[in-house]
Symmetry: C3
Subunit: 135 residues, 3 copies
Amino acid sequence: MFKKVHVFRVKPGQELLGEIERCCSERGITSGVIIGIIGSVENARLNFLMSLPGNYEGVGYPGPLEIVGAQGSVTLKEDSPIIHIHIQLSGQGLCRGGHLAKATVFSTAEVVIGELDYQLHRQYDSYTGLNELVD
Amino acid sequence: MFKKVHVFRVKPGQELLGEIERCCSERGITSGVIIGIIGSVENARLNFLMSLPGNYEGVGYPGPLEIVGAQGSVTLKEDSPIIHIHIQLSGQGLCRGGHLAKATVFSTAEVVIGELDYQLHRQYDSYTGLNELVD
Amino acid sequence: MFKKVHVFRVKPGQELLGEIERCCSERGITSGVIIGIIGSVENARLNFLMSLPGNYEGVGYPGPLEIVGAQGSVTLKEDSPIIHIHIQLSGQGLCRGGHLAKATVFSTAEVVIGELDYQLHRQYDSYTGLNELVD
Protein backbone atom coordinates (compact mmCIF):
# COMPACT_ATOMS: atom_id res chain seq x y z
CA MET A 1 0.00 0.00 0.00
CA PHE A 2 0.96 3.64 -0.11
CA LYS A 3 2.14 4.38 3.42
CA LYS A 4 2.15 8.10 2.62
CA VAL A 5 0.98 10.19 -0.34
CA HIS A 6 3.21 13.24 -0.89
CA VAL A 7 1.78 16.23 -2.78
CA PHE A 8 4.04 19.21 -3.45
CA ARG A 9 4.50 22.10 -5.84
CA VAL A 10 7.57 22.81 -7.99
CA LYS A 11 7.76 26.53 -8.70
CA PRO A 12 8.34 28.78 -11.73
CA GLY A 13 11.90 28.60 -13.07
CA GLN A 14 12.83 25.47 -11.14
CA GLU A 15 14.14 22.38 -12.92
CA LEU A 16 11.43 19.74 -12.50
CA LEU A 17 13.41 16.48 -12.29
CA GLY A 18 16.07 17.95 -10.02
CA GLU A 19 13.46 19.36 -7.65
CA ILE A 20 11.66 16.01 -7.46
CA GLU A 21 15.00 14.33 -6.67
CA ARG A 22 15.67 16.95 -3.98
CA CYS A 23 12.19 16.55 -2.44
CA CYS A 24 12.50 12.74 -2.38
CA SER A 25 15.89 13.02 -0.69
CA GLU A 26 14.64 15.59 1.84
CA ARG A 27 11.58 13.47 2.69
CA GLY A 28 13.51 10.18 2.72
CA ILE A 29 11.51 8.61 -0.11
CA THR A 30 13.49 5.75 -1.67
CA SER A 31 10.60 3.64 -2.97
CA GLY A 32 7.50 5.00 -4.57
CA VAL A 33 5.24 5.62 -7.52
CA ILE A 34 4.92 8.92 -9.39
CA ILE A 35 1.12 8.99 -9.43
CA GLY A 36 0.86 12.23 -11.34
CA ILE A 37 2.25 15.62 -12.31
CA ILE A 38 0.24 18.47 -13.87
CA GLY A 39 1.18 22.07 -14.60
CA SER A 40 3.14 23.76 -17.36
CA VAL A 41 6.73 24.01 -18.60
CA GLU A 42 8.75 26.81 -20.13
CA ASN A 43 10.83 24.23 -21.99
CA ALA A 44 11.57 20.52 -21.75
CA ARG A 45 13.93 17.85 -23.05
CA LEU A 46 12.54 14.37 -23.71
CA ASN A 47 14.40 11.17 -24.60
CA PHE A 48 13.12 8.65 -27.15
CA LEU A 49 14.51 5.11 -27.27
CA MET A 50 15.49 4.35 -30.88
CA SER A 51 17.21 0.95 -30.73
CA LEU A 52 18.62 -1.52 -28.23
CA PRO A 53 20.84 -1.60 -26.30
CA GLY A 54 20.20 1.84 -24.88
CA ASN A 55 20.35 4.07 -27.94
CA TYR A 56 18.11 7.08 -27.41
CA GLU A 57 17.77 10.54 -28.90
CA GLY A 58 17.01 13.69 -26.92
CA VAL A 59 14.71 16.39 -28.29
CA GLY A 60 14.20 19.86 -26.84
CA TYR A 61 10.73 21.43 -26.85
CA PRO A 62 10.24 25.16 -26.32
CA GLY A 63 7.18 26.13 -24.27
CA PRO A 64 4.97 27.17 -22.84
CA LEU A 65 3.44 23.69 -22.91
CA GLU A 66 0.95 22.10 -20.56
CA ILE A 67 2.13 19.16 -18.44
CA VAL A 68 -0.84 16.90 -19.17
CA GLY A 69 0.40 14.14 -16.91
CA ALA A 70 3.35 12.03 -15.83
CA GLN A 71 3.97 8.58 -14.40
CA GLY A 72 6.97 6.72 -13.04
CA SER A 73 8.77 5.47 -9.99
CA VAL A 74 11.36 6.05 -7.28
CA THR A 75 13.67 3.08 -6.88
CA LEU A 76 17.14 2.17 -5.65
CA LYS A 77 20.00 0.78 -7.73
CA GLU A 78 22.28 -0.55 -5.04
CA ASP A 79 22.15 2.45 -2.69
CA SER A 80 21.52 5.17 -5.26
CA PRO A 81 18.03 6.53 -5.93
CA ILE A 82 16.76 6.48 -9.53
CA ILE A 83 13.71 8.52 -10.43
CA HIS A 84 12.24 7.40 -13.75
CA ILE A 85 9.51 9.61 -15.22
CA HIS A 86 7.64 9.68 -18.51
CA ILE A 87 5.79 12.92 -19.13
CA GLN A 88 3.10 14.08 -21.56
CA LEU A 89 3.27 17.65 -22.88
CA SER A 90 0.82 19.52 -25.10
CA GLY A 91 0.17 22.92 -26.61
CA GLN A 92 -2.49 23.93 -29.12
CA GLY A 93 -0.22 22.90 -31.99
CA LEU A 94 1.97 20.09 -30.64
CA CYS A 95 1.56 17.07 -28.39
CA ARG A 96 4.48 14.83 -27.44
CA GLY A 97 5.51 12.62 -24.55
CA GLY A 98 8.60 10.69 -23.57
CA HIS A 99 11.27 10.07 -20.95
CA LEU A 100 11.78 13.25 -18.91
CA ALA A 101 15.43 14.36 -19.18
CA LYS A 102 14.83 17.87 -17.84
CA ALA A 103 12.25 20.63 -17.84
CA THR A 104 11.91 24.17 -16.53
CA VAL A 105 8.62 24.86 -14.76
CA PHE A 106 6.52 27.70 -16.21
CA SER A 107 3.59 28.38 -13.81
CA THR A 108 3.63 25.32 -11.58
CA ALA A 109 4.09 21.57 -11.38
CA GLU A 110 1.86 19.73 -8.92
CA VAL A 111 3.59 16.45 -8.08
CA VAL A 112 1.95 13.43 -6.42
CA ILE A 113 4.15 10.59 -5.16
CA GLY A 114 2.82 7.49 -3.43
CA GLU A 115 5.46 6.17 -1.03
CA LEU A 116 5.49 2.37 -0.94
CA ASP A 117 5.64 0.09 2.10
CA TYR A 118 8.31 -2.06 0.41
CA GLN A 119 11.52 -1.28 -1.47
CA LEU A 120 11.67 -1.21 -5.30
CA HIS A 121 15.01 -2.01 -6.95
CA ARG A 122 16.69 -1.59 -10.33
CA GLN A 123 19.65 -3.35 -11.88
CA TYR A 124 21.52 -3.02 -15.13
CA ASP A 125 20.12 -5.15 -17.96
CA SER A 126 22.65 -5.90 -20.71
CA TYR A 127 19.92 -6.68 -23.28
CA THR A 128 18.25 -3.26 -23.03
CA GLY A 129 21.37 -1.41 -21.86
CA LEU A 130 19.25 0.29 -19.20
CA ASN A 131 18.62 0.04 -15.47
CA GLU A 132 15.49 -2.10 -15.33
CA LEU A 133 13.00 -2.76 -12.56
CA VAL A 134 13.57 -5.96 -10.58
CA ASP A 135 10.33 -7.78 -9.80
CA MET B 1 -2.29 7.59 2.45
CA PHE B 2 -5.50 7.24 0.49
CA LYS B 3 -8.12 6.66 3.16
CA LYS B 4 -10.63 5.73 0.46
CA VAL B 5 -10.40 5.16 -3.30
CA HIS B 6 -13.57 6.27 -5.11
CA VAL B 7 -14.36 4.77 -8.51
CA PHE B 8 -17.44 5.97 -10.37
CA ARG B 9 -18.86 6.32 -13.86
CA VAL B 10 -19.98 9.53 -15.55
CA LYS B 11 -22.61 8.71 -18.15
CA PRO B 12 -23.33 9.64 -21.80
CA GLY B 13 -24.37 13.27 -22.26
CA GLN B 14 -23.23 14.37 -18.79
CA GLU B 15 -20.73 17.23 -18.36
CA LEU B 16 -17.59 15.61 -16.97
CA LEU B 17 -16.16 18.33 -14.70
CA GLY B 18 -19.56 19.27 -13.25
CA GLU B 19 -20.36 15.63 -12.47
CA ILE B 20 -17.00 15.14 -10.74
CA GLU B 21 -17.69 18.27 -8.65
CA ARG B 22 -21.15 16.94 -7.81
CA CYS B 23 -19.81 13.48 -6.84
CA CYS B 24 -17.08 15.01 -4.65
CA SER B 25 -19.66 17.18 -2.91
CA GLU B 26 -22.08 14.28 -2.43
CA ARG B 27 -19.33 12.03 -1.03
CA GLY B 28 -17.79 14.79 1.10
CA ILE B 29 -14.40 14.66 -0.66
CA THR B 30 -12.52 17.94 -0.06
CA SER B 31 -8.95 16.65 -0.39
CA GLY B 32 -7.80 14.14 -2.94
CA VAL B 33 -5.92 13.11 -6.02
CA ILE B 34 -7.49 12.46 -9.43
CA ILE B 35 -5.69 9.16 -10.07
CA GLY B 36 -7.24 8.59 -13.48
CA ILE B 37 -10.08 9.01 -15.94
CA ILE B 38 -10.61 6.95 -19.08
CA GLY B 39 -13.51 6.83 -21.52
CA SER B 40 -14.59 9.01 -24.43
CA VAL B 41 -15.99 12.49 -25.02
CA GLU B 42 -18.48 13.85 -27.52
CA ASN B 43 -16.72 17.24 -27.32
CA ALA B 44 -14.35 19.05 -24.98
CA ARG B 45 -12.91 22.45 -24.20
CA LEU B 46 -9.27 22.67 -23.03
CA ASN B 47 -7.37 25.69 -21.72
CA PHE B 48 -3.74 26.42 -22.60
CA LEU B 49 -1.65 28.85 -20.55
CA MET B 50 -0.03 31.33 -22.95
CA SER B 51 1.69 33.88 -20.69
CA LEU B 52 1.84 34.95 -17.05
CA PRO B 53 0.00 36.16 -15.10
CA GLY B 54 -2.94 33.91 -15.92
CA ASN B 55 -3.42 34.48 -19.66
CA TYR B 56 -4.84 31.33 -21.20
CA GLU B 57 -6.70 30.46 -24.39
CA GLY B 58 -9.56 27.99 -24.62
CA VAL B 59 -9.93 25.63 -27.56
CA GLY B 60 -12.95 23.48 -28.37
CA TYR B 61 -12.47 19.97 -29.77
CA PRO B 62 -15.29 18.08 -31.48
CA GLY B 63 -15.41 14.34 -30.78
CA PRO B 64 -15.74 11.54 -30.53
CA LEU B 65 -12.32 11.41 -28.89
CA GLU B 66 -10.88 8.89 -26.46
CA ILE B 67 -10.11 10.08 -22.93
CA VAL B 68 -6.63 8.56 -22.72
CA GLY B 69 -6.08 9.70 -19.15
CA ALA B 70 -6.37 12.52 -16.66
CA GLN B 71 -4.64 13.68 -13.48
CA GLY B 72 -5.27 16.35 -10.91
CA SER B 73 -6.47 17.14 -7.43
CA VAL B 74 -9.33 18.14 -5.16
CA THR B 75 -8.36 20.99 -2.83
CA LEU B 76 -9.86 23.81 -0.79
CA LYS B 77 -9.30 27.53 -1.30
CA GLU B 78 -10.55 28.91 1.99
CA ASP B 79 -13.77 26.89 2.24
CA SER B 80 -14.45 26.41 -1.49
CA PRO B 81 -13.51 23.20 -3.31
CA ILE B 82 -11.33 23.51 -6.41
CA ILE B 83 -11.02 20.55 -8.74
CA HIS B 84 -8.04 20.93 -11.06
CA ILE B 85 -7.79 18.41 -13.90
CA HIS B 86 -5.52 18.03 -16.92
CA ILE B 87 -6.84 15.59 -19.50
CA GLN B 88 -5.40 13.81 -22.53
CA LEU B 89 -7.63 13.27 -25.56
CA SER B 90 -6.92 11.40 -28.78
CA GLY B 91 -8.58 10.28 -32.00
CA GLN B 92 -6.99 8.62 -35.01
CA GLY B 93 -6.09 12.02 -36.45
CA LEU B 94 -5.57 14.33 -33.47
CA CYS B 95 -4.02 14.12 -30.01
CA ARG B 96 -4.13 17.01 -27.56
CA GLY B 97 -4.16 17.53 -23.81
CA GLY B 98 -4.62 20.46 -21.47
CA HIS B 99 -6.54 21.96 -18.58
CA LEU B 100 -10.09 20.55 -18.59
CA ALA B 101 -12.58 23.42 -18.88
CA LYS B 102 -15.54 21.22 -19.80
CA ALA B 103 -16.41 18.07 -21.73
CA THR B 104 -19.51 16.09 -22.65
CA VAL B 105 -19.18 12.35 -22.08
CA PHE B 106 -19.73 10.15 -25.15
CA SER B 107 -19.83 6.48 -24.00
CA THR B 108 -18.46 6.67 -20.47
CA ALA B 109 -15.90 8.25 -18.17
CA GLU B 110 -14.46 6.01 -15.47
CA VAL B 111 -13.16 8.28 -12.72
CA VAL B 112 -10.76 7.24 -9.93
CA ILE B 113 -10.18 9.61 -6.99
CA GLY B 114 -7.91 8.84 -4.06
CA GLU B 115 -9.21 10.64 -0.97
CA LEU B 116 -6.35 11.89 1.19
CA ASP B 117 -5.98 11.62 4.96
CA TYR B 118 -4.94 15.29 5.18
CA GLN B 119 -6.28 18.51 3.68
CA LEU B 120 -4.78 20.08 0.54
CA HIS B 121 -5.09 23.87 0.13
CA ARG B 122 -4.78 26.47 -2.63
CA GLN B 123 -4.22 30.20 -2.47
CA TYR B 124 -4.00 32.95 -5.06
CA ASP B 125 -0.49 33.54 -6.41
CA SER B 126 0.03 37.02 -7.88
CA TYR B 127 3.03 35.93 -9.97
CA THR B 128 1.12 33.24 -11.89
CA GLY B 129 -2.29 34.87 -11.48
CA LEU B 130 -3.69 31.44 -10.56
CA ASN B 131 -4.78 29.55 -7.45
CA GLU B 132 -1.69 27.54 -6.61
CA LEU B 133 -1.15 24.53 -4.37
CA VAL B 134 0.17 25.35 -0.89
CA ASP B 135 2.80 22.83 0.30
CA MET C 1 -8.03 2.14 -0.07
CA PHE C 2 -5.36 0.26 -1.96
CA LYS C 3 -4.78 -2.83 0.15
CA LYS C 4 -1.71 -3.64 -1.94
CA VAL C 5 0.22 -1.82 -4.66
CA HIS C 6 1.68 -4.23 -7.23
CA VAL C 7 4.66 -3.09 -9.32
CA PHE C 8 6.03 -5.44 -11.98
CA ARG C 9 7.93 -5.43 -15.24
CA VAL C 10 6.73 -6.82 -18.57
CA LYS C 11 9.74 -7.84 -20.65
CA PRO C 12 10.93 -7.37 -24.25
CA GLY C 13 8.86 -9.28 -26.81
CA GLN C 14 5.99 -10.02 -24.40
CA GLU C 15 2.42 -8.98 -25.24
CA LEU C 16 1.53 -6.27 -22.74
CA LEU C 17 -2.21 -6.81 -22.16
CA GLY C 18 -1.89 -10.61 -22.00
CA GLU C 19 0.96 -10.38 -19.47
CA ILE C 20 -1.04 -7.98 -17.26
CA GLU C 21 -3.98 -10.41 -17.39
CA ARG C 22 -1.64 -13.28 -16.49
CA CYS C 23 -0.05 -11.35 -13.58
CA CYS C 24 -3.47 -10.35 -12.21
CA SER C 25 -4.65 -13.96 -12.38
CA GLU C 26 -1.43 -15.25 -10.76
CA ARG C 27 -1.64 -12.68 -7.95
CA GLY C 28 -5.41 -13.08 -7.49
CA ILE C 29 -6.20 -9.46 -8.35
CA THR C 30 -9.88 -9.17 -9.38
CA SER C 31 -10.49 -5.53 -8.40
CA GLY C 32 -8.04 -2.73 -8.93
CA VAL C 33 -6.86 0.42 -10.61
CA ILE C 34 -4.15 0.60 -13.29
CA ILE C 35 -2.25 3.50 -11.72
CA GLY C 36 0.37 3.67 -14.44
CA ILE C 37 2.48 2.01 -17.12
CA ILE C 38 5.66 3.46 -18.63
CA GLY C 39 8.20 1.94 -20.99
CA SER C 40 8.29 1.40 -24.75
CA VAL C 41 6.57 -0.74 -27.37
CA GLU C 42 7.78 -2.39 -30.57
CA ASN C 43 4.27 -2.07 -31.99
CA ALA C 44 0.74 -1.54 -30.69
CA ARG C 45 -2.89 -1.73 -31.74
CA LEU C 46 -5.32 0.86 -30.36
CA ASN C 47 -9.10 1.00 -30.64
CA PHE C 48 -11.05 4.22 -31.22
CA LEU C 49 -14.79 4.40 -30.57
CA MET C 50 -16.47 5.89 -33.67
CA SER C 51 -20.20 5.65 -32.95
CA LEU C 52 -22.62 4.02 -30.54
CA PRO C 53 -23.48 1.29 -29.88
CA GLY C 54 -20.01 -0.19 -29.77
CA ASN C 55 -18.63 0.66 -33.21
CA TYR C 56 -14.87 1.07 -32.97
CA GLU C 57 -11.94 0.99 -35.37
CA GLY C 58 -8.55 -0.56 -34.62
CA VAL C 59 -5.34 1.05 -35.79
CA GLY C 60 -1.88 -0.50 -35.72
CA TYR C 61 1.16 1.61 -34.86
CA PRO C 62 4.70 0.47 -35.63
CA GLY C 63 7.33 1.36 -33.04
CA PRO C 64 9.52 1.89 -31.32
CA LEU C 65 7.25 4.25 -29.39
CA GLU C 66 7.45 5.40 -25.79
CA ILE C 67 4.67 4.31 -23.44
CA VAL C 68 4.05 7.72 -21.91
CA GLY C 69 1.41 6.46 -19.52
CA ALA C 70 -1.67 4.32 -19.08
CA GLN C 71 -4.73 4.20 -16.85
CA GLY C 72 -7.59 1.78 -16.31
CA SER C 73 -9.08 -0.87 -14.09
CA VAL C 74 -9.42 -4.53 -13.19
CA THR C 75 -13.05 -5.53 -12.71
CA LEU C 76 -15.33 -8.58 -12.82
CA LYS C 77 -18.23 -9.13 -15.22
CA GLU C 78 -20.08 -11.92 -13.45
CA ASP C 79 -17.08 -14.13 -12.63
CA SER C 80 -14.79 -13.12 -15.52
CA PRO C 81 -12.04 -10.54 -15.10
CA ILE C 82 -12.01 -7.57 -17.50
CA ILE C 83 -8.91 -5.41 -17.72
CA HIS C 84 -9.66 -2.08 -19.39
CA ILE C 85 -6.66 0.07 -20.28
CA HIS C 86 -6.18 3.30 -22.22
CA ILE C 87 -2.58 3.97 -23.16
CA GLN C 88 -0.64 6.98 -24.46
CA LEU C 89 2.14 6.39 -27.00
CA SER C 90 4.61 8.86 -28.49
CA GLY C 91 7.61 9.05 -30.75
CA GLN C 92 9.40 12.12 -32.07
CA GLY C 93 6.98 12.34 -34.99
CA LEU C 94 3.70 10.86 -33.74
CA CYS C 95 1.65 10.93 -30.55
CA ARG C 96 -1.57 8.92 -30.16
CA GLY C 97 -3.52 7.29 -27.37
CA GLY C 98 -6.54 5.03 -27.14
CA HIS C 99 -7.98 1.75 -25.91
CA LEU C 100 -5.18 -0.84 -25.67
CA ALA C 101 -6.04 -3.83 -27.86
CA LYS C 102 -2.53 -5.29 -27.84
CA ALA C 103 1.11 -4.24 -27.81
CA THR C 104 4.52 -5.88 -27.94
CA VAL C 105 6.98 -4.59 -25.37
CA PHE C 106 10.23 -3.14 -26.74
CA SER C 107 12.60 -2.44 -23.80
CA THR C 108 10.27 -2.69 -20.80
CA ALA C 109 6.85 -1.89 -19.41
CA GLU C 110 6.71 -0.93 -15.73
CA VAL C 111 3.18 -1.63 -14.53
CA VAL C 112 1.62 -0.28 -11.31
CA ILE C 113 -1.71 -1.70 -10.13
CA GLY C 114 -3.47 -0.60 -6.95
CA GLU C 115 -5.52 -3.52 -5.62
CA LEU C 116 -8.80 -2.31 -4.09
CA ASP C 117 -10.36 -3.34 -0.79
CA TYR C 118 -13.76 -3.75 -2.47
CA GLN C 119 -14.93 -5.42 -5.68
CA LEU C 120 -15.53 -3.45 -8.91
CA HIS C 121 -18.09 -4.83 -11.38
CA ARG C 122 -19.06 -4.37 -15.03
CA GLN C 123 -22.25 -5.19 -16.88
CA TYR C 124 -23.37 -4.94 -20.48
CA ASP C 125 -24.94 -1.59 -21.38
CA SER C 126 -27.23 -1.76 -24.41
CA TYR C 127 -26.97 2.01 -25.08
CA THR C 128 -23.16 2.00 -25.47
CA GLY C 129 -22.92 -1.64 -26.54
CA LEU C 130 -20.02 -2.06 -24.11
CA ASN C 131 -19.36 -3.57 -20.69
CA GLU C 132 -19.68 -0.54 -18.43
CA LEU C 133 -18.60 0.07 -14.84
CA VAL C 134 -21.34 -0.40 -12.24
CA ASP C 135 -21.21 2.23 -9.50
